[in-house]
Subunit: 181 residues, 2 copies
DNA sequence: CAATCGCTTTGAACGGCGTTCAAAGACCGT
DNA sequence: ACGGTCTTTGAACGCCGTTCAAAGCGATTG
């Protein structure tokens, strides 16, 4: 992750990474099998580091609306070169050619999905949100967040992370708003 | 596009493409400059082929709701290996390393955005949709569609193109529904 | 203590990639 | 028939991810 942050994913080669780690390219592949596996394991590691904060958002005692806003902020890339999202986009394009990546990737997604469903159900149960199909809500919101994240991380001119975050939060607020009476 | 359809983007090499075209790799690069440019020009060509149908959706006389559903169907990939969307995902990951692609890509996006804004404004003007910030609606819906498209084209297990299309259409319908009184 | 044996680690070699470029070919106005 | 410009080729280049034979290392054993 540090290597990606410093020089970008495109500059990350087996030989370069090995040099940085004081070992050889062959050695890395002895354990990981392929560069694809290195990348997907790095993504997994990166996602695991977010797990505690995500768990807190699901289990926390703050109003569900606030926790949902926190979920959006945690999901989106921090900025134009967020290494976690560089990995996501790269893994997407590699998944098309390398089916072994598909399951790992689907599994990471599932974690985000299940937590969001719990969070929304929690808010509904507390009467803070209108009765909602949490599954459908999660599928839609996360797709929107994926689209926003892509734009942010590839640096589409004129897009601003915080503006897009507000779009997502506003969408959530309106969709989950309890009926006025 | 035919080569991508038949063998996938990962198998598409300069030498292989040249052989298929009865020419040499150097010759393709004489005109295109780089493989990245070949891909982005191919994407542009592919998008241009959709332009007439998109224009018809904007200018058509059918109810705006129906035209919006048509927009969703045109936007999403046709299936798991839609070559247009293989190119999109590939261009996303290359854009990160090759800034020259960014403008081309943003420009293609702009076309979809502007047409969707017109379509929604049209529906609002006709009283078919509630008064809506069409800009914001377009930013959100297209992000959602990008997220869905990614999942479809990379073949996430368990996702179905038509189910996701219905999600998008339902989101649009609910968001744009005129108030009940 | 030496021999053995599995697990690590190396780095040279490999095939294939996108790209470059000197040379050859084709075309055309004069 | 010549000259000049634009095309086209294909060999060469540097770099990539990956493979694999050989060497290194440490623990187990007689």
């Amino acid at each position: 992750m540090a290597a990606i942050t410093e020089h970008g994913l495109a500059e990350l080669t087996m030989a370069g990474l090995a040099r940085r780690l004081g070992t050889s390219g062959g050695h890395i592949l002895y354990y990981f099998g392929s560069k694809d596996q290195v990348l997907v394991e790095t993504l997994r590691w990166s996602e695991e580091r977010l797990a505690p904060r995500r768990a807190e958002l699901v289990a926390g005692s703050a109003p569900a609306g606030e926790r949902l806003a926190g979920y959006v902020d945690l999901y989106l890339p921090t900025g134009a070169a967020d290494p976690r999202w560089l990995l996501w986009v790269d893994v997407w394009s590699r998944t098309i050619a390398v089916p072994e990546l598909r399951e790992a990737q689907a599994e990471l997604d599932r974690g985000w999905h299940e937590d969001l469903v719990r969070l929304v159900d929690d808010g509904v149960r507390a009467g803070e949100f209108a009765p909602t199909d949490a599954e459908a809500f999660s599928v839609r919101l996360r797709a929107m967040l994926d689209g926003f994240s892509t734009q942010i991380v590839i640096g589409v001119p004129g897009v601003d992370r915080d503006v897009l975050a507000d779009h997502a939060k506003d969408h959530a607020r309106r969709t989950l708003a309890p009926a006025l009476l």
